[in-house]
């Protein structure tokens, strides 16, 4: 699994590979937690590529409801159909027609369940942002993989999708949902892993630059920052430095481009010129 993920551009620690493998084999959802930018969402994308299947994504937000997550009727079309029927002698027949699958708009969850050609990867992103109520609803779907639509009856999953849930821990995920899933916590990558990630994602970055960037970012994470930089920031920054034709870090360039890595006003202000110089020097060693 680890090698397979690596072939598809994801440098996975054994922890991650084991978790993904178990989730796939045990047909259980995998709940992935970790700081922003450690590559939670990326796992789903890689898994979809690796299995050669479709990635269906549901982005959670406050106020997300069933109509946007599961299904909605196509009202304008239903209405047109009704008007066209005019004074039909048999109203119940019309009802059958307009409440059929043809008039059903499938939202991500239903789409994942009804996909005919093999199981898709279903990514439920940032579940912590949705309301508790939605979490409870999800619990039902994830345990039975079936949906009951009052007008249509129960729809069962053709294939049980591979489900990944991610959370930034902006609130605690309910215990019941956690129990339904397998659980993985992703830490910030180690130095070696980060170098490999930079090398694989930013081909223009040489060994020296990649190592210096990784060490610099690592030392940033050791400080108490409001927003610790994630891998996504490291990659952005590496790309920026390559674009500026740098083959090593120097204090001036670093302070000009630090906005790629530190995205908090206080953090940026606290890291003054001299400190940058010391950090750069330490990273160059």
């Amino acid at each position: 699994m680890q090698e397979a993920m690596e072939r598809h551009g994801y440098i996975a620690e054994p922890e991650i590979a084991t978790a993904v493998f178990l989730a796939k084999e045990m047909k259980k959802p995998l709940l992935v937690e970790g700081d922003a930018g450690v590559g939670k969402t990326e796992i789903a994308k890689v898994l979809a590529r690796l299995l050669g299947t479709e990635l269906i994504r549901l982005q959670c937000y406050e106020g997300l409801d069933v109509a946007t997550a599961l299904y909605e009727w196509d009202y304008p079309r239903q209405m047109l159909r009704l008007r066209m029927a005019g004074d039909s002698p048999d109203p119940s027949k019309i009802e059958d027609v307009i409440f059929s699958r043809e008039y059903l708009l499938e939202r991500p969850l239903l789409k994942a369940i009804t996909r005919a050609s093999g199981p898709p990867v279903l990514l439920i992103d940032e579940i912590d942002r949705a309301d508790d109520g939605f979490e409870a609803f999800l619990l039902e779907i994830l345990s039975d993989f079936q949906v009951t639509i009052p007008e249509l009856g129960t729809i069962r999953a053709e294939h049980v999708p591979h489900v990944l849930l991610t959370s930034n821990r902006s609130r605690e995920i309910g215990d019941a949902l956690r129990r339904r899933c397998l659980y993985l916590y992703i830490e910030h990558p180690t130095f070696e892993k980060e170098v490999r990630i930079i090398r694989s994602r930013v081909p223009g970055a040489g060994d020296r630059l990649a190592a210096q960037i990784a060490r610099f970012v690592e030392s940033l994470r050791e400080r108490r920052l409001a927003k610790s930089p994630g891998v996504a920031e490291t990659i952005d920054w590496s790309q920026a430095l390559v674009r500026l034709h740098q083959d090593e870090l120097d204090p001036e360039i670093v302070s000009e481009t630090l906005g790629c890595v530190l995205k908090d006003h206080n953090d940026l202000r606290e890291l003054k010129g001299e400190e940058i110089a010391t950090l750069v020097e330490a990273a160059a060693r």
Binding site: M79, R171, R224
Partner: protein, 375 residues
């Protein structure tokens, strides 16, 4: 190893985890067992990883997990433990947590706190005197009526509309789904439009209450107030701190406030001791911030700000809390003294991160606090 032996060993491992306070339930164990059938059992690290995933070990429990894993799954311990598990089929018992000596409630009249019936007394006319009486002068006899007032007060807590839409009458946006359903009954004519509007949401509160010696006269009533708040807004989290931080939420069963208070004072180490506000708030930031505070949460800090410690950690913690919470309200009983100025070192350091500094020495002042807690 046979599957049966493995299962027994796993059960005793799970029991040991539970004994150390890691939440592991039966369904986790069955998950773990089926995970183990999928991995290479000879590879110890692989087994460790698989168990961590299948038992849903959270980050904060990881060190306990690793420690116990080493005990239970080292080559020699494994065989021994299996033999042991096979013989007794029992799970190691949790060590009974030692009670740390806690002083009882400060009691003005020298009698032990009585259990006071709450009953379903109907409307209680607020007693103006009681409302103005300072907590410092209150005795146990005042606690019962005080408690009822507190509960009524907490129930007044205003609520805020959520972004979620729920069916509503006569206001809000049109709900096509329900409208359509009802139109069917009238042959497709929309005689009545169904509507949806924003749901009313409970406020989210996180209260951090100082229980050190200098706060002693007020703690009891302030905690009673927090408990009352917890009844009105179920998602209230309560922490107390003095020299260390304790999460109270799990201790608080619904029911009588007095009994909860007794249980709490008996279980919190160093009750009425000194304070280290900064360190305690930092512990809070490290362990609980992510899970308890979001953009909807109002943080309520109850303390006199008298701190002997270094202010640096306090500033760091307050910044972290401020950046995440919706509002930070600081209740300071000392504010009742008109001559008081917030110059105590801790208070002065925290002030820039506080949205509202309010007094809290009697019921009347707590009443004035409510609008600031409304979500």
């Amino acid at each position: 190893m046979t599957v049966g032996g493995l299962a027994a060993h796993l059960a005793s491992f799970a029991g040991a985890l539970r004994a150390r306070g890691v939440r592991v339930v039966l369904s986790d164990e069955t998950d773990a067992l089926s995970a183990l059938t999928l991995v290479d059992l000879a590879d110890r690290e692989e087994v460790r990883r698989a168990l961590a995933v299948a038992l849903k070990i959270r980050r904060r429990d990881r060190s306990v997990f690793d420690e116990l894993f080493d005990q239970y799954f080292s080559a020699s311990a494994r065989e021994a433990a299996i033999a042991e598990a096979a013989r007794t089929r029992s799970v190691p018992h949790a060590a009974v947590p030692r009670r740390i000596g806690a002083p009882g409630w400060r009691n003005v009249e020298g009698e032990t706190a009585r259990e006071l019936p709450l009953g379903d007394t109907p409307a209680y006319s607020p007693n103006a005197l009681l409302r103005r009486k300072s907590f410092e002068e209150c005795t146990d006899a005042d606690l019962a009526p005080m408690e009822r007032l507190l509960i009524r007060l907490a129930e007044k807590l205003a609520t805020r509309p959520s972004r979620r839409l729920v069916p509503a009458r006569g206001r809000g946006v049109m709900d096509p789904r329900r409208s359509f359903r009802s139109a069917l009954a009238t042959d497709g004519e929309f005689l009545r439009l169904a509507r949806r509007s924003r749901a009313i949401e409970e406020p989210r509160l996180v209260a951090l209450c100082d229980t050190s010696g200098s706060m002693d006269a007020h703690t009891r009533f302030l905690l009673a107030f927090l408990l009352a708040l917890k009844r009105a807004a179920r998602r209230t989290e309560i922490f107390v701190f003095n020299t260390s931080l304790t999460r109270l939420t799990s201790w608080l069963a619904p029911g009588k406030v007095v009994r909860s208070l007794e249980r709490v004072s008996a279980s919190v180490p160093d009750w009425s001791g000194g304070t280290r506000i900064g360190e305690c708030l930092e512990t809070f930031v490290e362990n609980h911030l992510d899970a308890t505070i979001d953009a909807k949460t109002v943080v309520l800090i109850v303390s006199d700000g008298l701190d002997r410690g270094d202010t640096e950690p306090l500033v760091r913690a307050m910044r972290a809390i401020r950046s995440r919470a919706r509002r930070v309200v600081w209740l300071n009983p000392l504010l009742s003294d008109p001559r008081y100025e917030p110059i105590a070192r801790g208070m002065a350091a925290a002030l820039p991160f506080v949205d509202r500094l309010l007094p809290a020495h009697n019921l009347e002042t707590l009443e004035r606090l409510l609008p600031w807690l409304a979500a």
